[in-house]
Symmetry: C2
Subunit: 200 residues, 2 copies
């Protein structure tokens, strides 16, 4: 059974979606550990309630490298093969990324490369795009930048505000994150340049 490590800072609804996919037999994996950088992250309680291992690692007084070294230690001790970011609100250091080459996934609520960074749904809404969506990508050393595993699109409707748009995107996030994890765990893909090509 492939072992996942989840990093989150809040509720981590995408973590819950992955947990549900596993529970319902749609994803063949197990969640080895859930790690939060914030003690009060609801995702910790949710993980514990599901009987999962969940830990808070405080960043107090630690620089990024020192903090990320602790993350790496925790993940390795739990034999994590694939790291999934689920609303993890800290940049990962280059040395963390190098510890898990092409073994870290993130989900971002826009069709990257459009609208990287914070508040992507609001950015997209204000820009006036007619189509937005979400992206699961490998994490590299640049923000919201690594090779793309899956994307899903949603329409932006005349009646939308940025909250209704965000809700529509979130539904797609919950769907494609598990699908992307399955693709990566199954290894049925190759990478050419930046292109992740599924081998069916």
């Amino acid at each position: 059974m492939k072992r996942l490590g989840i990093l989150l800072s809040g509720r981590g609804s995408n973590f819950e979606a992955i947990a549900r996919s596993i529970e319902e037999g749609r994803l063949n994996a197990e969640i080895a550990v859930v790690i939060s950088n914030r003690a009060e992250a609801p995702g910790i309680e949710i993980a514990l309630a599901r009987g999962l291992k969940a830990v808070h690692i405080s960043s107090k007084g630690l620089d990024r490298e020192a903090y990320d070294a602790q993350l790496v230690k925790e993940l390795k001790e739990n034999h994590v093969e694939l790291v999934c970011l689920a609303g993890y609100m800290r940049m990962l250091s280059a040395s963390f990324v190098r510890e898990f080459p092409m073994r870290i996934l993130n989900i971002h609520p826009s069709l990257l490369p459009a609208f990287p960074g914070l508040d992507a749904q609001h950015q997209a809404f204000e820009y006036g795009v007619k189509i937005s969506g979400c992206t699961v990508h490998f994490v590299d050393e640049q923000l919201d930048h690594g090779p793309i595993v899956l994307q899903a699109h949603v329409p932006v409707l005349a009646t939308d505000d940025s909250d209704t748009l965000a809700a529509r995107i979130l539904k797609e996030e919950h769907r494609i994150y598990s699908e992307a994890v399955a693709i990566v765990l199954n290894g049925r893909y190759r990478v050419e340049g930046r292109r992740v090509i599924e081998e069916v």
Copy 2:
């Protein structure tokens, strides 16, 4: 009947798509004039063969302002109400844009704001996006930047190269350009900030 002016530099397949929409009664407008900056643009012959007025305006020896003043003159003499760029490979000057405020449309073969500029389909392919598409937008003084009227998406398939992707996008371009022209001519929209909101 609302009068369109078309600017092109090559074949202008999006011009042909608009002409077909008019011919088949799907778009209530007429093409008043087709203007090319290149004498050898196939679009001129195609326009003439359709019985449309088509002219070449040479840019030889003219700076952008002087050239664009000639374009404006030709368009105004033909009582053009909406200018449609169809593969027009010159930047328009700010003074041209000011002559037709929110009355110039362009079509771009990507989901803007992703992949502005040349060779957008190839850019998207190399970036490894899983979803691309095309965008009809008002032209403002920045490249591929004005408020978006319509977008359409296409999938990027594992078997694609950038040519097959470009062909799939082009089919959507031919569909949505006429739709966007109809929306603008009908005036059933309002603009809030950058957002073009259709009023149905």
